[in-house]
Structure formats: C-alpha cells, structure tokens
Amino acid sequence: MATFFGEVLSVYSRAVEEDDDELDENEEDEQIRRELEEKREVHLHWSPEVSESLKSGNKLQCSDFILAVGQNASSFLSVHILSTPNWDTIGRASVWNERSRAVMGQSCEESACVFYRHKDNPTVLICQVSCYVAEDQLFQWTEKVFDCLQHRELNVTVLSDTSVADYKTADYLGGSSAPFLRSLHTSAFGDQPVCQSLEQPNIVTGLAAAVLNHCQVHRIAAVVYQCYSDVIGPDSVTMETYKPVLTKLGRSIQLDPSPSTDALRKFVRTTDLQSNLYI
C-alpha cells in the first residue's frame, strides 16, 4: 500500500488469511496444538463446600454478581466493599495465556481471579479479575462461571477499566475529562444506570463484553460500567470514578463509603520498577 508521501507500507488487514488448515497436519503438530489448547483452558477451583454443592447438581444461589475487571476496578471493590470482614473466599479461576507471568513468591494464578461470597447474605458474589484473559478464553471463562450460578432473578454488575485512548468522540477530549464512566446494559436490565450510556461508535470488548453477550442471550439483567482513564496503572482518582455505583451496590451489601487514605494507599503503587522510564 502506498501512502500520500510515496513510501510503501506493509499492508495490515483484519481479514484473516485463507484457511491453512487444509494442509496436512502431522500427528506431532496436532498433539502440540491439542496440548496448547488444554493449557489454555480456564479452570475454576471452588472451596470444598461449594464443589460438593455443585457436584450434587445445585448451582450457587446468586441474586447479585459483581465482577471487577482490571486493577482499578478490583482495587475499588477491595477498598470499599471487601475491606469489611464479612467476605469468604470461595474460589478462584486459573487462566494461563501468553501474558501470564509468575509474580515473585506466589503463582500469578493465585490472586489474579478470585471469587468472594458475603457471609451474612450468601447470594451476593464478587469476583475480581486482575489478570489478562485472552480473546480465545473470554467465552469459556464466562460460560464456566455462569454455569455455576443460578440465573433466575440474577443481577450482574461489571466494573471494567479501559484506556481513554479507545474512546471515540467527535469533540476532542481535553486532558481534564478523563477518568469518566460510561454504561452499557442488557435488555433485561430494568434499573437506571448511574451514568451516561456508551455513545456510538464506541464498543466494549474483553471480559465485560463476553459477560454482556452471555447475559443478553440468556436474558439476564446485567450492566457494565466502563471507566475510561488516561492512567495505565492503579490510580486513586480512577478508582474514585466508580463511586456512583456504590449507590446501587449499597442496597444489597454493606460497604465502606469513605475509606481511609491508608486503605487507598495500599492499592496504589507509586512507582513500578519495570516502568522506570521517568524517575
């Protein structure tokens, strides 16, 4: 492809090239492919009590499922909701892909995707996802998790971090407008979202989209609050942007509306050694 300035750029197209799977795949290739697929499978590890219940055919009773995708969303829930001592850890999901890396001292999988249940109100479940779930694992993650939950009268709330660079708008966004919230909800969602709806031509991708797709086709009430931020890592201003959602969540669970600065500081890393571009 030639540009206006005359240089030739290599063409990039979203179109997938013609299928190559017509070529004979020998046994070794097939085995490698199968093993890789198995390694990329999403596995849910529940506590013994929950496992027993699921094995005997009873799904988890759930009226509210709150999912946090991304570091700021997860930290927001940790600070405002999970800080009260009323939560049991009931399970985790292990997700391996090309971006997984072992954190020193513990396997990355341990803390990357955890499920909590409220002690006094066991129909409220929270899940924090701070690891990267690859495109081919999104559907699987969603199906496996929702297979464990009963769907009747289920309300799903998703808090999702994303970059403001992905936000399309006709007016140029000055630096002062980020971070901000936008919402997207399924047809079955009857409540009022706490912020503006996501305008055209913006879309939601990733785990939030996978959950919305599942809830839409299965007629489950779900809402996604997407936070557009100009900061990549955990940041207290970005976390605070989710505050309006507390008004909705506070109806079913006890929460801490004004956490101490110490609590916030725990979740905000001031410097990350790997990204020491500017000292």
């Binding site: 492809m1 179109a15 936000y167 006709a170 909800h185 031509p201 879309i203 991708t205 797709n213 086709v217």
Partner: protein
C-alpha cells in the same frame, strides 16, 4: 448456535440469507450494515458462539434516542419477512483457531433453517490480482452448482464475471499447475464456498477486489451490485445515495482534532 431474541423462534424457510465474510476492508460487513439500516430490519436473534471475539455495543442502527440503548452482540440475525430476507451481521473477527468450527456452524445453521439461497458478501486483496483481473470490473461472483440451476439466467443477464481460477504457482510450467480457486484476504469465503459445494447448498459469493482504506465506496458498490440481482430496494432510480448510512459509521478514522494543534 442461533438463539432467538423473540418469544418464539422465527421461521426462515424459503428466505434468502445475506451474510458477510470478515474480509479485507470489511466491505461485506459494511454492505450488510447498509442493507439492515436502509430496510430498517429488526433483529430476530443472535448467533452465540465461542468462535468470535466478544464485543458489545449499543444499537448501531439507532435512528432516535428511544432505540439507542439496545445491546448488540458480535453476530446477529435480522429479518424482513415481507421481502423473505434474512441478514446475518458479523461484527467481530473469527478466532484464528476456530475458523473451521465457525464454517461448520454456519453450514449446519443454513441447512437446518431451510434458506432457499445464501449470498456471501466478501472481498479480496486488490494487489493480488493477476494481469487479467486488473482490467474491467472489480466485482466477481461464485455460485455453487445447487444455486446455478435456478439462477443461471439471472446471472447471465447481469453480465457478471465469475471468479477466475488461478494457477497455484504462476510462472512455473511443470505438470502440477492445475488452476485453483484463491481468494486472498477473503477470510472464510473460500472455505465456506467449498463446504457449500460439498453439502450441496445453494450459495453464492459476491466479492469485490479492494484494499484497506476508506471502504465506504466499496460497500456502496457491493450493495448496489447485490441490489441489481435481488432487487431489495423497490426504488428503481439510479441515484447513488439510496442507501442509508447507519450512525455507527461515524468517526471511522479517529477522534476529533485538538483545536490547539493549529
């Protein structure tokens, strides 16, 4: 699999199905957008599958505030019963490892729904044309033997060019240069076509040679060609802007420009 968004499953018996292939320039998908938007088609269901990358957004065909907040998924089926037309729109790329599975899913859905014919709107890399293909119209078509029986006359009248078979190794003159079908940049088009031939499905492919860039004119061209055959729009005038552009086509090339730049 197909999941109806209404109370009962719709019937597609004897309907024509128009669907895009995710291909170079997304021309097929843009053309399908024009069809759904202009004919004001209503959504009747979703294709819920693990083969597509998940995405979600508000109604891309919203014409007013009231219907703006309706969630849309990566693969949806729209229908216009009075035209006996069903349209599948695919909004996300197919996962690399699941292309075969997706083709099988489509073929079995087409079979079980009883569509009288399927038209796949697609495109192919313009830079890979050979000398012959560089001349004349960039439109090509393909039909399976099953559809050729009923549509041979109509296609002859339209004067369209059938997609040429090209030698596997151009320039090489040894014995194994049997010309074969090649649709570079066409995504699953070739696979879907060959599968449909095998399954004896009445399927046609309509494709345009194009390059990545502003593909809106290509979408209009493809939609007009389709209309010449299927007569979807009842307006016979030759005006080029009879198609309605959906609201989701805004900002295709980026955000507004910061005023401080100038």
């Amino acid at each position: 699999m197909f999941i109806s968004s209404q109370r009962s499953a719709p019937s597609f018996r004897d309907f024509t199905l128009v669907m895009p292939a995710v291909a170079v320039g997304n021309v097929g998908q843009l053309a399908v957008d024009l069809i759904v938007s202009t004919l004001n088609m209503s959504r009747v269901g979703h294709i819920h599958t693990d083969c597509l990358i998940p995405m979600a957004g508000n109604n891309p065909y919203a014409s007013c505030k009231e219907d703006g907040e309706e969630l849309h998924t990566p693969a949806e089926v729209y229908a216009a019963a009075e035209l006996k037309l069903a349209v599948l729109q695919i909004r996300a790329p197919i996962l690399q490892s699941k292309t075969k599975k997706f083709r099988q899913l489509l073929v079995s859905w087409i079979k079980s729904s009883g569509f009288s014919r399927t038209v796949v709107l697609s495109s192919s890399h313009a830079y890979q044309r050979d000398d012959q293909q560089l001349q004349g119209t960039p439109l090509r078509y393909l039909v399976t033997p099953s559809l050729l029986k009923g549509s041979a006359d109509a296609l002859k009248e339209l004067g369209w060019r059938e997609m040429e078979r090209v030698p596997a190794f151009p320039g090489l003159t040894d014995g194994n240069t049997e010309p074969r079908l090649c649709i570079p940049g066409g995504g699953i088009t070739k696979g879907l076509y060959t599968d449909s031939c095998k399954e004896d499905l009445p399927l046609a492919v309509l494709l345009l040679f194009c390059s990545e860039g502003d593909n809106i004119p290509d979408a209009f061209a493809l939609a007009n060609h389709l209309n010449d055959w299927l007569h979807l729009l009842d307006d016979n005038s030759k005006q080029p802007n009879k198609w309605k552009i959906p609201t989701s086509w805004s900002l295709l090339f980026g955000n507004g420009i910061p005023p401080a730049l100038f």
